[in-house]
């Protein structure tokens, strides 16, 4: 397991293997076979599997979502792509009213095996209509599954599971994860949808996050370790179904909870987790749980403001301090990474 792939390559490989494994799998979306191949995640697949299985579409998200549902009803297993989750809103009626309810509505007689990949934007001035992260919308709806992998290994394993699932699965990919690297096995493997991962074990506080915010969570955990604080970091991986028992078990042990949201916190993912813990583990809580997430404003384009939207390492660590009820020893508060409008130096826009 020493081979490293980027998140992009992991998605590409999972898709390639899914297309190879099952002739019913098909891949469609605006730009799928173009030279950029959905940020590299679909490159070369049309050449390999032909235009019948891997193809471009008109700019018509509502129609395309419906078409994918219809094809799924005949036994196909479509994967559709949206370069921004905002574009998917045009097809959300199909996803929510139709796909999510089909199996139930037909009394278990017909299902819609469909994967909807949507990219969540951030940074480089994408602005109010290209930077939202609407996971709590999808997570609210019974009948949908929602995965938000935080690293290449999970991206491949969860996408593989999603394609094999007989339900509509929404995969939300953070643009800033695309160029992150990590070990990825060559063969096919699945990560169970609905199971969280303990990304780091610890006893002092439970930090729950997912998707890109896991990068922040783990960074904070290693800083905390230097201060002698052992954080247990939970990577949700899926937000529906939600792995309640892993969360509850951890908080029972640590007695402290911090959630880091990728999207807005009001009526967000952290709200569900904090409520769950308050309902089921109230007595275990040694201090009030804390939700951290983007500020409750539309995302502005200018970096002067956009950088203020997102939780910083500083804010997260300060929240941990508050939760612990004591100062972090040996912290150098001045030396923390600042929020930037690019994930790394290789990212130079424009999209």
């Amino acid at each position: 397991m020493s081979r490293e792939l980027s998140y992009t390559e992991a998605i590409l490989e999972a898709t390639d293997q899914a297309l190879h494994e099952d002739s019913k799998v098909m891949l469609l979306g605006l730009g799928v076979p173009d030279p950029k191949g959905i940020f590299g995640t679909t490159l070369g697949l049309q050449e390999k599997y032909g235009e019948d299985r891997v193809f471009d579409t008109p700019t018509a998200e509502n129609g395309v979502t419906g078409v994918a549902i219809g094809a799924a009803l005949t036994g196909m297993r479509p994967i559709i792509t949206h370069q921004r989750v905002e574009f998917s809103l045009l097809g959300i009626e199909q996803l929510i009213n139709q796909a999510a309810k089909w199996f139930y509505m037909t009394g278990g007689k017909a299902s819609v095996p469909l994967v909807v990949r949507s990219i969540i934007g951030r940074g480089w001035g994408q602005g109010p209509q290209h930077s939202q992260s609407l996971e709590s919308w999808f997570a609210h709806v019974p009948g949908l599954k929602v995965i938000m992998p935080s690293n290449p290994y999970d991206a491949k394993g969860l996408l593989t599971a999603a394609v094999r699932d007989n339900n509509p699965v929404v995969m939300l990919e953070h643009r800033w994860l695309h160029n992150t690297f990590g070990p990825v096995p060559e063969g096919n493997y699945e990560i169970q949808i609905g199971k969280a991962k303990i990304a780091q074990k610890g006893d002092d506080i439970t930090i729950v996050s997912y998707s890109y915010m896991m990068v922040e969570a783990l960074r904070c955990a290693s800083i905390l370790a230097k201060c002698g604080i052992n954080a247990e970091v939970i990577d949700l991986r899926s937000i529906r179904p939600l792995d309640e028992s892993t969360i509850l078990k951890s908080v029972s042990k640590t007695g402290r909870l911090l959630t880091i949201d990728n999207g807005w916190s009001k009526y967000g993912i952290g709200s569900e987790i904090v409520s769950l813990v308050a309902e089921k583990r109230l007595k275990f809580l040694k201090s009030p749980p804390i939700r951290v997430g983007p500020n409750d404003v539309p995302i502005p384009s200018t970096r002067a403001l956009a950088n203020l939207v997102y939780p910083s390492t500083y804010e997260i660590l300060k929240s941990v301090e508050k939760s612990l009820g004591k100062e972090l020893l040996g912290m150098n508060w001045d030396n923390l990474p600042k929020v930037e409008d690019t994930p790394d130096k290789t990212f130079q826009g424009p999209f």
Binding site: A60, V67, N166
Partner: protein, 326 residues
Amino acid sequence: MKNLDPLKLYTDMLRIRFVEETISQEYSKQEMRCPVHLSIGQEAIPVGVSSRLTISDQIVSAHRSHAHYLAKGCDLKKMISELFGKVDGCCRGKGGSMHLFDLEGGQIAAVPIVGSSIPIGTGVALGLKRQKKPGIVVIYLGEGATEEGVFSESLDFAKLQNLPVLFVCENNLYSVYTPLGSRQDSKRSIIDIAKAHGISAISGDGNDVIEVQKLTSNAIIEINTHSTPFLLELSTYRWLEHCGPNFDDHLKYRQDGELSNWMERCPIKKLKLHLEKNHLINNRIENKIIEKIKLEISEAFEHARKSSFPDPTELFLHVYAPREIE
């Protein structure tokens, strides 16, 4: 291919009419507790269309789907039980009148969000084509549904992929209580919209089942020979209220005399005249047909009445499909 015998067309229309009338009469008993959109007056279209369909052809419908379902040969008992909310309904009671389907009969879906059935039907055709399965897909849609943008998106996609789709637009002049003129400019043409997308299209009298049958025949030939979609726009008229069991002429949203004119143009009456002229029907034959239909219907209602409601545990069943289905 179904029987092309006009008496069969007559029987099929009459059967749908009687089913709908029975629902209408029985509705006030409050056993069928779900919205119903009846098709009385519009029977010729589904019967004419389905008379040219085979078992491998699929249909997709919307909120007003009873007639489509029955004409295609789907199961009457499963339909009535569904209206009663019973566990042996086609959706185990979970869907109600607006979600009728029958995979064996060939109605793959009914979707009550206006327009949303159209891309789904288009996708069904894509699935058939990719799997090299035989058959075409008929997508029934109201003229109101052509106002939803997804209609145009679906035309574009169907033509681009040259899918075996027959779009059948039932133009009954109304969307709920709103007349055509408040929704579409008088110069707007559904036929021309299809043509502007590269799709052949033709209009006809949707109350003349023989004409519907002919137009469907020609359309299917075109679809199969040129592997291209086709659109039929058929004029017709709904007699009862948009949703519910009653007449509603007193609400005055219809033009004066409009309903009675259209009732004159009843598709069943029209075919009967034709049958009579050609001595294909007489009282004895007709009575036998009616008797058989009535028996079948009363059995279906009796069956539904006696059937059980789903068990409470079914509430949590079917939210997610398991890995292995079928």
